[in-house]
């Protein structure tokens, strides 16, 4: 069995200023297997991958790869690619202003005899690749015209097309809906049968059990164990990741039910934004958690943006606490008591080069106004309070926020809004790319906020998560609100509602 091994990483050590990110981490990949890399946020998954693909230099340890003499240390992504290691990252790393075909072939464009780019051939091969993967795109259109999910599929298609021996998927599914995930899995199984070793990083346990053969668990940058999927029940896996037993997720809801009060916080009538969301009515009460559910692109994020005023509503009225709110820009909504955590963390949420502290106090500062600055001690106290409260893993409050792991970045943005003490908090995919322990914490936090009389609009791709936290669900389809569910909330009823009448027959 060991002759099947294609890659061995042993005793890898890597430190960042103030943090030991990897401490004696190991990984073994075999041909024709799908290998899950699991661990909490900041456990070192992404760092290990970046060491392997040559993005980060590392201090200690060995990497051996089949077909490579001696140490297979990659110094650049190009070198890794030449050795047959292809990577797809959680955040799409393609060029949005180039066409789909260009993105697929960038750096390896087919050439004509005169050494110019053979556009015809490029577009036709691109079309073929996309057709084989069943991705409905026009390959000559710019990538930015497509949703994040499609962009992610293009990134995967590019990696797959590059004759790789090892394919690394770093949380590729966090922005895909179920249908697209199924497509991806089919693709992964095909590749596995062709002998490709796939390293799959995900936070979704179901997905691990659906496609993977073997699991490596990292904890605090250390190797915690390697298991075959068959011998590892879920509870044990979670326990291995956390290093402790998990409180029962199902018990969360019981603590936080019946917090809904009569006072209406936001009442929207006929709100719409041209091209993204058709007119809708929406009411949320004090202490209520309302979920917006639907497929990706159904308008659930757009509805949230419209309520917040990120996209200015062109029709309709919105009253908040009985007063009409005409938000010209987000600051008006913030002043009225709203907070909004966007779904695209990198593009819409983080101020990357600024410190954790600055990222936390910025929204509060914006609310107070430019000429009433928080004093340095107030800033520090605020940052320390939330780093402690949300257990944000960071070397210090002055660390630039883009040095944090994805889940901790998300916590920083959450802290930013909690600091403004909003009456209505809009959370668009707050748990995406976050480990299961933190997910539970965030869900608990949402219910705690509701118990304190705050209102929360919650969007998530995971129906289970919505069922646990929301007391009412708005169902979205094709850019309009098609209904509400407020009793008998089960996976089945929600799925049927999302799918709609037309598709019900098929299921």
């Amino acid at each position: 069995m060991d002759e099947n091994v294609i890659l061995t990483m042993r005793g890898i050590t890597k430190s960042f200023p103030g943090v030991l990110a990897l401490d004696n981490a190991s990984l073994k990949l075999r041909k024709g297997e799908i290998h899950a890399l699991m661990g909490e946020n900041g456990a070192g998954k992404s760092t290990l991958i970046k060491v392997l693909t040559g993005i980060y230099p590392f201090e200690g340890g060995e990497i051996e790869m089949e077909g490579v003499e001696g140490q297979a240390i990659n110094h650049s992504v190009q070198e890794a690619q030449e050795r047959g290691i292809a990577t797809v990252y959680q955040e799409v790393n393609l060029c949005p202003n180039l066409s789909v075909a260009e993105n697929l072939f960038i750096g390896r464009e087919p050439r004509t005899k005169c050494n110019t780019i053979d556009w015809k051939k490029m577009n036709s091969s691109a079309r073929e690749i996309m057709k084989n993967l069943d991705i409905p795109v026009d390959v000559t259109m710019n990538l930015e015209n497509y949703s994040v999910a499609i962009q992610q599929m293009v990134a995967i298609a590019r990696a797959v097309d590059m004759e790789c021996r090892i394919l690394i998927l770093d949380e590729p599914t966090s922005s895909l809906d179920d249908n697209e995930v199924e497509k991806l899995f089919r693709l992964m199984r095909d590749l596995k049968n062709k002998g490709v070793a796939i390293l799959f990083v995900t936070h979704f346990l179901e997905q691990v059990y659906a496609v993977c053969d073997r699991i490596t668990v990292l904890r605090n940058g250390q190797f915690a164990g390697e298991y075959t999927v068959a011998e590892m029940p879920r509870v044990k896996l979670v326990a291995a990741m956390l290093g402790k037993d998990l409180d029962d997720l199902a018990s969360i809801k019981a603590e936080g039910s019946d917090t809904v009060r009569k006072d209406v916080v936001v009442d929207a009538k006929g709100l719409s934004h041209k091209g993204t969301i058709k007119p809708f009515d929406f009411v949320i009460h004090k202490g209520e958690v309302v979920g917006l559910t639907g497929l990706l692109g159904s308008g659930r994020s757009e509805m949230a943006r419209c309520i917040y005023g990120a996209d200015r509503a062109q029709t309709g009225t919105l009253t908040m606490n009985g007063k009409e709110l005409k938000a010209k820009a987000p600051i008006d909504s913030i002043n009225a008591g709203m907070g909004y955590l966007p779904d695209d963390r990198k593009a819409d949420g983080l101020i990357g080069d600024l410190s954790v502290k600055e990222n936390i106090y910025l929204a509060l500062q914006a609310r107070k106004g430019m000429f009433h600055p928080l004093s340095p001690s107030e800033q520090n106290a605020l940052a320390d309070k939330f780093i402690e409260l949300l257990q944000i893993k960071t070397a210090s409050r002055e660390t630039p926020v883009n040095q944090l792991s994805g889940g901790n970045q998300q916590k920083v943005i959450l802290a930013r809004w909690l600091a403004t003490d909003p009456e209505l908090l809009i959370l668009d995919e707050p748990t995406r790319g976050i480990d299961i322990g933190t997910k539970t914490e965030i869900q608990k936090l949402i219910l705690k906020l509701a118990a304190e009389g705050k209102s929360v609009i919650f969007i998530s791709s995971e129906i289970e998560e919505m069922l646990r936290t929301c007391s009412r669900l708005c169902v979205m389809r094709d850019g309009s609100k098609v209904g509400e569910l407020d009793h008998d909330l089960t996976q089945n009823t929600v799925m049927t509602a999302i799918a709609g009448q037309g598709k019900e027959g098929e299921q």
Binding site: L354, A363, A366, P373
Partner: protein, 349 residues
């Protein structure tokens, strides 16, 4: 050793280091560099010269730093705007079409203020193009870069207007009874104002946020477009002030020569100050030190007898060296070299 590392990691280390190096070379070449003497009741000396002549670039660098930080672009119109402001003021003070005058037709303070506001107006024009119409900063400011001088010439009826009115010379030279050149005071005032604003308000953090991620900044309640606009207006006002000094130095508005190539020096000052021209994080003190470094280099070269025509070549070489040493690529290269050597030593042990 640790203390040394602490010092070298400080943000201002490199800009200061460069300035000190240039000054040191001067001292070695000419021990009299730091000598300051009093002639005719005013201060003379190389150091005073650097501080005096560097005023315009230092003031421009203040505005330019904000523009670079907020929009990841540069305002290349500042030199021309200086010229336009100067022409506008002289036209107001001398009257349209007057070639040379010894009396002024308007209170001088009002004329100067109008000139500065003209700079602000130009800044507002640039700012509107960049923040509202989303035109790339370089292209947007190219319009005034080419047009402002011509407009200035029109205002002065295609001639150089001389104002031989004694108080008009005060701003760019000396106020009677005061031994220190006036531009130094003006620069101090501008710097103190901007530092106070940055310290006493959240403007600095907001500008950096917009420069790093304007979409995210807008969503968390910062008026990104307005801040961008504001930075261009401030930059324009700075150009106006610099234009007043430059005009007062020669008590005329020489439309073709006032502020010529100053935009390049201002941008260079920002870069020398250790600021990334890709926007975001900025360091105002660094830019100001950078401005005086440039002036020190120029003064040194002229003092060493390099001809005015050849000076730019030497200046370019020095600037390239400074910029390379400060670049992150170079720094990380040094870092890896150091680490490798350390590893080798470890292995040997």
């Amino acid at each position: 050793m640790k203390n040394i590392q602490k010092i070298t990691r400080m943000k201002l280390f490199f800009p200061l280091f460069c300035l000190l190096l240039v000054l040191l070379i001067n001292v070695v070449k000419d021990p009299g560099f730091f000598q300051i003497s009093v002639k005719n009741g005013v201060l003379y000396g190389r150091l005073i010269d650097v501080l005096n002549r560097g005023s315009e670039v230092a003031i421009l660098a203040v505005g330019q730093t904000l523009v670079v930080a907020v929009s990841a672009g540069t305002d290349i119109s500042v030199g021309s705007v200086m010229s336009l402001s100067a022409c506008f003021t002289t036209m107001l003070l001398a009257g349209y079409g007057v070639n040379t005058t010894t009396t002024i037709v308007m209170p001088m303070a009002l004329g100067l203020l109008a000139g500065i506001l003209m700079g602000g107006l130009c800044g507002a024009f640039n700012g509107a193009l960049v923040s509202k119409l989303r035109i790339q900063p370089m292209v947007a400011t190219l319009i005034l870069f080419t047009a402002a001088r011509a407009i200035g010439l029109l205002l002065c009826n295609n001639q150089i207007t001389y104002i031989r009115y004694e108080p008009y010379k005060y701003l760019g030279n000396f106020i009677p009874g005061c031994p220190i050149p006036t531009p130094i005071f003006v620069t101090i005032v501008v710097i103190v104002i901007i530092m106070l604003v940055l310290k006493k308000s959240a403007l600095g953090t907001f500008i950096q946020s917009v420069g790093i991620n304007s979409r995210a900044a807008r969503l968390l309640g910062i008026n990104s477009d307005f801040l961008c606009f504001l930075c261009y207006v401030i930059c324009g006002l700075c150009a106006g002030v610099a234009g007043m000094i430059a005009s007062s130095r020669i008590y005329c508005a020489d439309s073709n020569n006032i502020g010529l190539n100053y935009e390049m020096d201002a941008i260079l000052a920002v870069a020398l100050g250790g600021n990334s021209l890709a926007g975001g994080r900025f360091n105002m003190a660094g830019s100001i030190i950078g401005a005086y470094t440039i002036q020190a280099i120029t003064t040194t070269l002229l003092a060493m007898g390099v001809s005015t025509d050849q000076a730019p070549v030497v200046k370019a070489i020095i600037v390239i060296l400074i910029v390379v040493v400060q670049s992150p690529v170079f720094k990380s290269w040094v870092e890896t070299k150091k680490n490798r050597r350390r590893a080798e030593i470890k292995e040997a042990v």
